[in-house]
């Protein structure tokens, strides 16, 4: 079979493109080297849908962000992905800079912007730190789970005929006439077009494809996660004034009820580690935004690596290799832009945006705990697995986890279950439920204990039976 498009890289951008192309009726395959989608930059970022006041006017970033954000409501509703426009404040003491941002927002076509004085800030953020006298309030800024969005985009695509292949290592690419022959360690794919949305792996893929490489740098961002029981009393995203290196250390509620504090911004290699200095930097900077942060409430730290290529996104047709679309340096606001990038790439490929008829709707995977009481009881009556809690911190039931394992994209990792259900994301960080989740995965997937992964290949959860290894 010859695919119309082969997408390399299943982050939120790759899955958005995959989803869109499937919906317009194309034959599409998506390959990723990881054991799940959204395991790179898409799993470790702030989870914010920006309104678009920050990027330089007329940049690709500005256009994609504003259009992308506008697409979020309908998209998340269709996919049943939780999304909330909670509003964001950029706070500081420099009125001129705030006004500049405001003006820039207007130029970018952002709606719902206003400037707040100290009293107005206090009404929205009672625990705002001293010295923050003025703020840009952006009403339409939102929060979403970036990985849950990517997973749902992939799942809906699969449901409608798209193919996702995981754990695929790209080995070779050659052209047979107009058709690409893409060889991985496991498979051979034929496709008319190739989209390189490999994120941190962009240049590696580009070299194999024979398309343009770019000078890319990796910027690591570390974060603290506070649990939902942390008494922050915070309802909006709070940024400091942006700097050249990014939007700075922010504090935000997540869509799941936790809080994120971060990120740092350090250029380096592509390793997601947390550091002593990085975490201390967050503590110092975040206290300039909120005064009631107690880092003893932190339940986790993580870091993510964003890929930077100059000031703007690179999204273009390859000039060196016809049929290849390059997507490089999709850092922030990549998540916000993803739905718009999908449309943009569709047009770059020369396809109309109109979706085909009779598309299937993704099943409702709403967690039991988020359903109305009546529906909870009905579901438990039908299947007692929904009455059996596996992750007690997040109140995730066996039924929720079995559902996640039966979603269209089949995974075998504990972190994959965490991204789909939040199991293991609470106060004990999986201390109580880790082995329970492992046992559910191996039963449902019909694999051995040792084949269950934490995340990617090689991260097997056990070495073997005791006394045998």
């Amino acid at each position: 079979m010859v695919f119309d498009v082969l997408i390399v890289g299943g982050g939120v951008v790759g899955t958005a493109i995959f989803n869109k192309l499937v919906r317009i009726g194309k034959k599409v395959a998506l390959i990723d080297k990881a054991s799940d989608v959204a395991t790179g930059a898409s799993k470790a970022n702030s989870g914010l849908v920006h309104s678009g006041y920050d990027p330089a006017p007329n940049s690709l970033k500005a256009k994609m962000n504003v259009r992308g954000s506008a697409l979020f409501d309908a998209l998340t509703k269709r996919l049943k992905v939780p999304f909330k426009r909670i509003g964001a404040l950029v706070v500081g003491d420099d009125e001129k800079m705030i006004k500049n941002l405001y003006e820039r927002g207007l130029q970018n076509g952002v709606k719902g912007l206003s400037i707040l004085n100290r009293d107005e800030i206090l009404k929205k953020v009672p625990n705002i730190a001293d010295g923050n006298l003025v703020a840009l309030y952006s009403k339409t800024a939102g929060v979403v789970s970036p990985y849950y969005l990517a997973i749902s985009l992939a799942d809906e695509g699969i449901l409608n005929g798209g193919k996702v292949f995981l754990e695929e290592d790209l080995v070779n690419a050659e052209k047979e006439g107009e058709i690409f022959k893409i060889t991985t360690k496991k498979n051979v794919f034929h496709a008319k077009n190739v989209v390189n949305s490999a994120g941190a792996g962009y240049n590696d893929v580009a070299k194999i494809l024979g398309s343009e490489t770019y000078p890319l740098s990796f910027r690591r961002g570390e974060y603290f996660v506070f649990g939902d029981t942390a008494p922050l009393n915070l309802k909006h995203t709070i940024f400091p004034l942006p700097t050249r290196l990014g939007k700075g250390v922010l504090v935000t509620p997540t869509i799941d009820g936790n809080y994120l504090v971060g990120p740092t911004s350090e250029d380096g290699d592509n390793i997601t580690k947390t550091t002593y200095n990085g975490l201390n930097e967050i503590k110092a900077k975040a206290s300039m935004i909120l005064k009631n942060l107690n880092f003893k409430d932190a339940i986790r730290e993580f870091s993510g690596v964003r890929v930077i290529s100059g000031d703007d996104f690179i999204i273009e047709k390859s000039k060196k290799q016809a049929g290849v679309i390059n997507l490089a340096g999709i850092c922030s606001p990549g998540l916000s832009s993803a739905p718009a990038i999908a449309e943009y790439v569709t047009e770059l490929l020369g396809y109309p945006l109109k979706e085909k008829e009779g598309l299937k709707e993704l099943k409702d995977y709403t967690l039991l705990k988020n359903l109305p009481l009546k529906e909870q009881n009905a579901k438990i009556r039908e299947n007692a697995d929904y009455g059996e809690v596996v992750c007690k911190c997040e109140k995730i039931t066996k039924g929720d986890i079995v559902d996640a394992l039966n979603r269209p994209l089949k995974i075998r990792s504990v972190d994959g279950i965490k991204r789909r259900t939040n199991a293991g994301m609470g106060g004990c960080q999986g201390g109580f439920c880790f082995t329970k989740v492992v046992n559910l995965i191996l039963k449902e997937r019909k694999i051995s204990y040792e084949e269950v992964l934490k995340e990617n290949r090689g991260s097997f959860v056990a070495l073997g039976n005791i006394r045998e290894v």
Partner: protein
Amino acid sequence: MVTDVLVIGGGPAGMSSALSAGENGSKVLLVERDETLGGILNQCIHNGFGLHYFGEELTGPEFAHRFRKMVEREKNITVLTSALVTKLGENTATILCKNGVKEVKFKACVLSVGCKEKTAGNISLNGTRPMGILTAGTAQKMVNIDGKMVGKDVVILGSGDIGLIMARRLTLEGAKVHMVLEINSTSSGLKRNILQCLNDFNIPLLYNSTIFEVVGENRVEGVFYGQVDEKFNKIESTRKFLKCDAVILSVGLTPDLQLLPNIEKSKTSGLVVNEHYESEMPSIFTCGNALHVHDLVDNVALEGKEVGRYASLYAQGKLESGKTIKVLHSADFAYALPQTLFEGEGEVELKFRLKNKIVRKWIKVKSEGVEVGKRFVLAGVPGEMMTVKFSKNGVKNSVTLEVE
């Protein structure tokens, strides 16, 4: 559903308090989130349990089994397993179980939900987050319940009791436990565990030391470790690398009070309680590791027994209180429990932990400067929960614990 006493958590504290409340004549509903009663005892297959309570040495599952049998025989107790209490109010609780989401009305409640382990996130462990970083309890579950090996070259961070137990356990299963790193200058583990689990197997225990950074992408590949100064700052000149495939964390336990996020916690991170172990939330009693972390399950069971009786009396309207005596302590103590007593007659017991090691000192209980009780301590360490008894006859306003 309606009950006199709702007991939340079916570990040793919960089973013991359910038993004594039942024996005292109250109808009891005992709710356990796991499939069987016993709590963490079920995975503690080593011995050393029951010496005080049963007068013989048992394994954890044996200790749990004995209690389970007693609970089964007690007609006043209804047991509900695989059930999670998701909401707790003054006289009602919401339970999620295989029969649906149920409301339970109760007259008294014993919160005996135990504790949780501190995680890599809680201590901001630096480095990557590959597979192989496990809390000691999770590792114990994998090895003892699932029969799976968590690593062959192991480093243990923290010298809490479960970590020490796992050092021995993994050694017996053929792993090389390279070292136990303890950031403090003393261990929070029991002396007997250091002797039997580390010394007997020549496993070094390095004080004032910690992991600087975990290395590894998919599984743990090694750690950078070294010494810290008195403020726990890393001394970079002592930085060394050790190849290993597992990092087991035993860095502390915290009462697991997720059910009551907005109630003020004490120094133990448990609830503040009076002489009857009743919290500041009327009708809610608490005991076991949900109140403060114990060293011995025997003490948990004894505390549960006492608190179950109080909860039962409360449910029956027979529990009398009185004017409050505040329990205070000097800076030598990490905490003292309960936080308040009632004026009246009779002997009471205070439970406490020391902040630092003491040798040949008196622990004194004073009321308005006058000594009302004391005990001599030959050698006391923070790792050991201690008690002091005294008569409260005539004591008013407050008592203070001091070291002399």
